[in-house]
């Protein structure tokens, strides 16, 4: 009889991939992503750590590796190697990114401009993918890494699709909180604006100021036609906020405009006010 400990041992062994014959040694599990498990592994040839993703499911699913290989961008994790395990499963080795997942990074105190700076770099990577015809389809803070040196990388392209492929009836994949309504319904019309929606959902958690929330709300419109029509347009509106200019998504009142004017020109206003105060004091002394 196979004892309880032996059954547990065999089950665990069965779950762990057999990497014999490859150049990698498994160290631990980093996480479970779209279509597979990502292990921390050591590349025994180059003596460095890598993230090794073992693709589950359909044996021929090389989707993520092919997409990543095409997307060479500093904000997209690069693929180093690709191969097949002795049991037939496919694997690929990616750069091991050290740092924090965005959801954890957000828990630490970072001011709004710093947060929005990270957001813009995520937008930059996603816009690059869109320009190459690739939709991520599962953008969320857990799929973004903020590296030790401030680098920002978008991970987990396991459910990403080429746009022309995505424009057909799709399997419903993604994370409910960040999923555009048309994606949740499995509509045939899912396009890059589903990623705009997900970025809007991320932005909502970035800051409570009215213009930023208005940008997030616009990006999260239920109707794809009412959203920003590209990630660049969304990023441009966030950049306008950071530069102290009016954002497209929010109609300002006079008070809003004055407050923004004050924020944008705080230093010159202070200098002018100081100058006027000094002049007033000098006049007063002269009269006295």
């Amino acid at each position: 009889m196979i004892s309880e400990p032996a059954l547990d041992r065999l089950s665990a062994m069965f779950r762990a991939p057999d990497v014999a014959g490859t150049r990698y040694e498994l160290v631990s599990i980093l996480g479970r992503g779209g279509m597979g498990i990502v292990y921390l592994a050591r590349d025994t040839v180059l003596d460095r750590e890598v993230a090794l993703k073992i693709v589950e499911g359909s044996a021929g699913d090389t989707n993520e590796a092919r997409i990543l290989a095409r997307l060479e961008h500093p904000g997209i994790v690069p693929v180093h190697d690709f191969g097949q395990l002795p049991d037939g499963r496919l694997f690929y080795a990616m750069k091991r990114v050290r740092g924090d997942r965005l959801d954890r990074w957000m828990a630490a105190p970072h001011d709004l401009p710093e947060r929005l700076g990270v957001f813009l770099r995520v937008c930059d990577a996603v816009a690059f993918a869109h320009a190459h015809g690739v939709i991520h389809r599962d953008l969320k803070p857990e799929n973004v890494m903020v590296g030790e040196f401030g680098e920002v990388l978008v991970l987990d392209w396991g459910v990403a699709r080429q746009m022309q492929i995505a424009e057909c009836k799709l399997q419903i994949v993604g994370t409910a909180e960040f999923m555009a309504p048309e994606q949740a319904r499995g509509d045939a019309t899912v396009d890059h604006r589903a990623d705009v929606y997900a970025l809007g959902a991320m932005l909502e958690s970035f800051g409570e100021v009215i213009p930023v929330l208005a940008i997030a709300r616009k990006a999260r419109s239920a109707d794809p036609g009412a959203r920003y029509q590209s990630v660049q347009a969304l990023a441009a509106d966030v950049s306008r906020y950071l530069a102290g200019r009016a954002v497209e998504a929010h109609r300002e009142t006079v008070v809003d405009r004055l407050a923004r004017f004050e924020r944008r020109y705080r230093l010159p206003i202070l200098l002018v006010l100081t100058y006027l105060a000094v002049r007033a004091l000098m006049l007063w002394f002269v009269r006295v």
């Binding site: 004892s3 065999l10 014999a20």
Partner: protein, 236 residues
């Protein structure tokens, strides 16, 4: 090597065969895979004596063979394992309700079943209360699947004149308890091998074991889709 063993006729498909010999052989394979989980499940879930559980188990498989219980199985609606357990629950409930004498035999004999061995295993296992019988049935089925694969590995190693490979696997991976699990160095000493040889033999045995598990699993599945789902469940 493919992730999936070459498609054979699954036992479920073969149980529907028009050829009696093929049908019988498939049925025997199915009984071999499932009798122990069925016996233990009946014992624990339905709280019956060992003798009554043995009678119910035999009667269930005989009735299934005679009445073609599994002909209605629809792969798109459930796993075969779930379907079998549902049939079993219905069968036991009816048998107890009717309090009827269980039909034994009728000219049909099952593959040899060692109920005493299953009862011994049960005594060893029953220390913990079971609150999820679905999970229990699954675990017992998995135990049977691994046991069958280990047997195939043992036979294959002996056939190829490499019994040591299985011995290493047995001593390290099938050790009953963590406390009695030897280290690689201890195994190497016992069998006058180097530690590297132990590592290599163990890696090869695990690879083959994995293949035999998938092969046994493939035989129990009704379609490539079901097999893919089941193997995904195994690989976590």
């Amino acid at each position: 090597m493919s992730a999936f063993p070459a498609t054979r006729h699954s036992i479920v498909a073969a149980m529907r065969s028009a050829r009696p010999d093929e049908r019988r052989s498939a049925f025997d394979t199915m009984v071999t895979a499932y009798w122990k989980p069925v016996f233990k499940y009946v014992r624990l879930k339905w709280h019956v004596s060992p003798d009554a559980a043995a009678d119910l188990t035999q009667a269930f498989f005989l009735r299934a063979f005679e009445k073609d219980f599994f002909a209605d199985f629809d792969v798109s609606r459930a796993r075969f394992r779930t379907y079998l357990r549902t049939c079993l629950d219905g069968f036991v409930a009816n048998a107890r309700k009717a309090d009827a004498r269980l039909k034994r035999g009728g000219g049909v004999t099952l593959v040899p079943i060692d109920f005493a061995e299953a009862e011994r295993e049960l005594r060893f296992q029953s220390a913990n209360a079971i609150d999820d019988f679905d999970a229990y049935f699954h675990r017992e089925w998995l135990r049977g699947l691994f046991a069958a694969a280990a047997k195939r590995l043992c036979d294959a190693c002996a056939e190829r004149g490499r019994p040591q490979r299985f011995t290493v696997f047995e001593q390290y991976d099938l050790a009953q308890d963590e406390s009695e699990r030897p280290t690689y160095a201890e195994i190497a000493r016992r069998h006058a091998m180097s530690a590297t040889d132990v590592t290599n033999e163990l890696a090869a045995a695990r690879r083959e074991f994995r293949r035999f598990v998938l092969e046994a699993l493939r035989e129990q599945c009704t379609s490539d889709e079901e097999f893919e789902a089941e193997s995904r469940m195994l690989t976590g």
